[in-house]
């Protein structure tokens, strides 16, 4: 398929038009996105059960497979490997194809990968319910699910590298770097963790060091680079103006990769590991603020003066919410990593609040934004209901806000009480004092449930909607050329 004759601007032979790329990417993108949305619904349901169980321990308590210690890891796994990774891959593939100006080649690779990845997740989640969980945070899937996931991943990596290598664009863009970074970091951390924490567990606390190194980096060097790729791509495209201080992006990119991987060790603060490991984690979390600062300049100063567009562009609304969440969560995480603060918040719900701040308020919102942008283009039909989009945005923004607020504040209070054995000698009282906060968090969870149901219905509606010529022309119209702001 070649539409390149229709546009004289292409500087390189073989470069495809956006519309042609979008159409060609339909099968893999819809496959990954649909799987993602399916897992999102499953995950939300499990998250709600988890959340209810915290304040009502008897809820669904008579079956072993529905006990808290099973539902919770199942929810995390579904959310991270089912929703976040599927959505991230759909978005990543699409951005990579667009920026490499390649019509989809060898789509079978991706379709096969989609099937295997999701079978792997399914096997993993089933294994957790059957009691084969590893009980290691964010790495809960039993060892036998990993080879299936790894096989799917090899296909994914192969496709991305080929697409990038045979690109038809003259220049690369920062989004492509971040996607490549995620692509290479994931197998490194996943492989190391499977080997040293699941298959042949390393000696003693070493497996905990590896486990937290993995868990943090799954967020920091797998999900976050994909989210950043999406924000870097969508912001200038929607706003029609370039990223602010773009020349700093390469500095931010490399310094992020160098520092971010170290930051996870604060999860072991005060624990039975050598002090230097924790100190290295604190230092890493602090130094990550350098790239975060630059990325913040890139995003927020590009956004300055264009806030009016938040009203008209749903994708921008989600994307910018995510960008703000990324900046804030990185700063808060750096502060919370220090031992003095950690002494209060360690072992409390604050940990969960911060995790969701990163994984949901930042990454998931970025993925929502990207999906709102790309699904109409890939499917060549417009979103049927702006109301549902608004409902989705406001319920998810309010829901995650409420959840993070409740968990962080509640967790802080819980931490102060835990450190005060004179005033709170009975441990059960401290847990009981968190109940109002947990109920508040559950309310936030309910809002998120509404948001996700609205999103899922909307996606299904979009998929079943007929493709009209009017929509097609609108969505494939070749956009304008970006102008550099005059200085």
């Amino acid at each position: 398929m070649s539409d390149s004759s229709s546009n004289p601007d292409y500087t390189k032979q073989g470069a495809a038009a956006s519309g042609a790329i979008d159409r060609s990417m339909r099968a893999p993108v819809v496959l990954f996105a649909a799987a993602g949305v399916f897992w999102l619904l499953v995950g939300t349901l499990l998250a709600l059960i988890t959340s209810f169980k915290l304040h009502t321990p008897g809820f669904l308590g008579n079956w072993e497979w529905l006990t808290y210690g099973r539902v919770r890891p199942a929810y995390t796994t579904v959310f991270l490997y089912g929703w976040a990774t599927n959505a991230g891959l759909a978005v990543g593939f699409w951005i990579m194809a667009r920026l490499s100006r390649n019509v989809l080649q060898r789509g079978t690779i991706l379709n096969t990968a989609a099937v295997f990845w999701n079978v792997g997740v399914l096997v993993g989640v089933a294994g957790i319910f059957f009691g084969d969980l590893t009980a290691r945070e964010w790495l809960e899937m039993p060892g036998y699910a990993a080879p299936i996931l790894m096989f799917a991943y090899v296909l994914i990596a192969l496709w991305v590298v080929l697409t990038f290598q045979y690109r038809n664009s003259k220049y690369t863009y920062v989004s492509q770097w971040y996607l490549l970074a995620a692509l290479f970091w994931f197998p490194a951390i996943f492989g190391t963790a499977q080997l040293m924490a699941v298959y042949a567990p390393a000696r003693g606390v070493l497996q905990e060091v590896v486990g937290w190194w993995f868990a943090h980096n799954l967020y920091a060097l797998w999900l976050t680079p994909i989210g950043l790729a999406s924000v870097y791509y969508l912001l200038p495209k929607i706003l029609g103006k370039p990223v602010h201080s773009y020349y700093l992006t390469s500095v931010a990119f490399w310094s992020y990769l160098v520092f971010a991987g170290w930051a996870g060790m604060h999860y072991l603060a005060g624990g039975p590991v050598p002090a230097w490991i924790i100190s290295a984690g604190v230092t890493g979390a602090l130094l990550v603020l350098f790239p975060v600062f630059i990325i913040g300049i890139n995003h927020h100063r590009a956004m300055a003066g264009s806030f009016g567009m938040l009203r008209t562009s749903p994708a921008l609304r989600f994307t910018y919410f995510a960008a703000v969440a990324f900046t804030t969560v990185s700063v808060v995480a750096a502060i919370a990593a220090f031992r003095g603060v950690k002494e209060i918040v360690h072992f409390t719900y604050f940990t969960d609040g911060l995790m969701q701040w990163g994984v949901y308020a930042w990454f998931t919102m970025a993925m929502f934004g990207a999906l709102y942008y790309l699904l109409p283009r890939v499917l060549q039909r417009a979103w049927p209901s702006p109301t549902l989009i608004s409902l989705h945005f406001w319920t998810s923004a309010a829901g995650i806000g409420l959840y993070v607020f409740a968990m962080c504040v509640g967790g802080w209070i819980q931490g102060l009480q835990m450190n005060n054995p004179e005033a709170y000698p009975e441990f059960v009282d401290i847990t009981r004092n968190t109940l109002p906060w947990l109920v508040m968090a559950s309310l936030g969870g309910l809002l998120l449930f509404v948001a996700h149901v609205a999103f899922a219905i909307h996606c299904l509606w979009l998929l079943l909607r007929p493709e009209t010529a009017e929509n097609r022309s609108m969505l494939t119209a070749e956009p304008k050329t970006m102008k550099v702001a005059a200085k």
């Binding site: 863009y173 920062v174 495209k237 029609g240 050598p274 002090a275 230097w276 008209t312 031992r339 070749e478």
Partner: protein, 221 residues
């Protein structure tokens, strides 16, 4: 604006995000922005200076943090504010502060009876100050500490009939340190007791019960 229609298309209330820049131009514009930095030399670039300053400040804080709380990368350091918890196979390379060690050994082993001021408890535990028992013969003093002493004995004109427990379980170094300490503390001014002396006496005597005053008579000078 011509793209107004695109932002709010009238296709049954649908909603489409604007695509205000093609991918091609996105890459070209940003690539030129990346190059521009090097060309631009006039003016006062405030941003790069701020960035460098921020980076230096973070590196400084991070470096100080690692220097203070890095635990010297020792796997046995679990408390970042302290040194290694133990170095079992390592001789302390620094010069040992005998008085400090002796004082610690005294606090842990002797102070309960002989008191912090070395004055003992009249009638029960003899004083260590201004007495030949302490400042006199090393030979006798070491034997008392290693194997204990069975009363009665006379110290500074008073009679004590209690029993002093043996402290043979203390290392030669600790015994030497604590004896040096009591011989030089509280106004006492006698010679140091060396580790070798303690080791020699320990070897010579072997294991035995508590001494009595008569048995110690040969060792008084």
């Amino acid at each position: 604006m011509s793209d107004q229609k695109k932002r709010n298309p009238e296709d049954g209330g649908g909603s489409v995000d604007p695509e205000a820049a093609s991918d091609e131009s996105l890459q070209e514009v940003h690539a030129s922005l990346m190059r521009k930095r090097e060309e631009k030399s006039e003016g006062f670039p405030i941003m790069p200076i701020m960035i460098v300053f921020f980076f230096s400040a973070l590196m400084l804080v991070g470096g100080i943090y690692m220097a203070n709380f890095g635990g010297r990368f020792d796997p046995m350091v679990f408390d970042e504010t302290k040194g290694p918890l133990a170095a079992p196979d390592e001789e302390d390379p620094e010069e040992l502060d005998v008085v400090a060690l002796g004082s610690r050994v005294y606090q842990q082993n002797c102070q309960a009876c002989h008191q912090a001021d070395g004055q003992g408890v009249p009638g029960a535990f003899p004083p260590l100050v201004e007495t030949e028992w302490v400042t006199g013969s090393e030979e006798r003093l070491v034997r008392v500490v290693l194997h204990g002493l069975q009363g009665p004995i006379e110290v500074r004109g008073e009679e004590y009939s209690g029993v002093m427990a043996p402290f043979g379980h203390l290392s030669d170094q600790n015994v030497a340190a604590v004896l040096t300490y009591i011989r030089q503390e509280w106004g006492n001014d006698a010679s140091e007791v060396s580790e070798e002396t303690v080791a020699e006496i320990r070897r010579e005597v072997g294991s035995r019960g508590a001494w009595t005053a008569e048995e110690l008579e040969p060792y008084t000078d």
